[in-house]
Symmetry: C2
Subunit: 205 residues, 2 copies
Amino acid sequence: MGIVERKEREREEMRKLILDAARKLFLENGFDKVSIRNIADEIEYSPATIYLYYKDKNELFFALHQTAFTKMIEEFAPIEQIEQPMDKLIEMGRLYLRFAFENPELYDLMFIMTAPIDALECREDIWDDGDRAFSILQQIVQACIDTGTIKHPDAEQAALMIWSSVHGLAALHLRRRLSMFGEEHVKTLVDETFNLFLNTIKKGL
Amino acid sequence: MGIVERKEREREEMRKLILDAARKLFLENGFDKVSIRNIADEIEYSPATIYLYYKDKNELFFALHQTAFTKMIEEFAPIEQIEQPMDKLIEMGRLYLRFAFENPELYDLMFIMTAPIDALECREDIWDDGDRAFSILQQIVQACIDTGTIKHPDAEQAALMIWSSVHGLAALHLRRRLSMFGEEHVKTLVDETFNLFLNTIKKGL
DNA sequence: TTGTTTACTAAACACTGTTCATTAAGTTTG
DNA sequence: CAAACTTAATGAACAGTGTTTAGTAAACAA
């Protein structure tokens, strides 16, 4: 009998319905406007129903966090076509920064907010997405080391240094700590700083 | 008559009383536990009273944000004694990272949270603290350029690159995005990455 | 002493995340 | 088919949040 399969399917559909409503509200109105009651209104169910499909709000945000990683990794696809590892690395950096600027809420959710991480420390799969994204970077850095364009022998260390530098730029911007340089030309400032960083690692890393 | 002066003084004392209670709760129990009612309980006044001294919660957090900057800048004092600009720069980086690790809540407030920035965009003095701290860094970078230890001619760009790199490391750690490397040896990982960054800019910047 | 200004607060408003007893519908069994 | 059971959904409540406002009591000025 396919009833249990149908139930399973309906359950997944409901989880998706909730998640999509949450994403819609999140992208339209920002983090603060995503309340359980707002989501419930959006999908025309009672607030309590959401708790039948997600343990709590953090778990819901973790699910959103997962879809955001999938989206970002998809956007990295074009770098596969690039031959030179260093060119790959540079393009990945650009795509990363572009993702951060074009999807500020998603980037925030992925790398800054504590909501998706809180109270989920018990789960085994919390770091799967982060690991997956980081290992893409690390592999490219390893290729740079193998071809001699990066001298430092430890790919993990080098990758972490690169990630944190680019993240720092994105995070300072998204949390409005670069406004003192004038909100209007922050984008060019970030681009210039990114280029300076590229030149520095080309020469020094 | 000194009544208006005394009133002024009493007003400042009350602002300080509220601020100190807020800081106490903030450092003891974290951001979430600092509610207007908690602060009111702590100082044995009604919640509404706080609104006679601070416009809203964001303004209160901005005041806390200011004291945090003062504390950090005080901790930078020892670098004045260092002769070589590059040594100064390195020590400043170390002190910056140490401040972030030893005062995670304060660092978060200063460079990550949006609360102290939100709705205060109108005020002229929001960026004073950030500017002051950044210009300390920029001056040291300028000294490095003048003595030839840094080749890149633009001190502002170089300083921003350095800041964002170190901030990236601190921010990823504080928002628990480095836990995938194993929570226990994050500190050494950050130190290693910081050293790699130093070597890179020494050679490449 | 009267009038006015100031400091303070109780109570309310509109929210928030979350839980739980109850209802209604779907499914299985006799 | 009807009775028993299981499951999905909810209304209402709890305990909390930031913030506003009307009203009171004390301090001050005339």
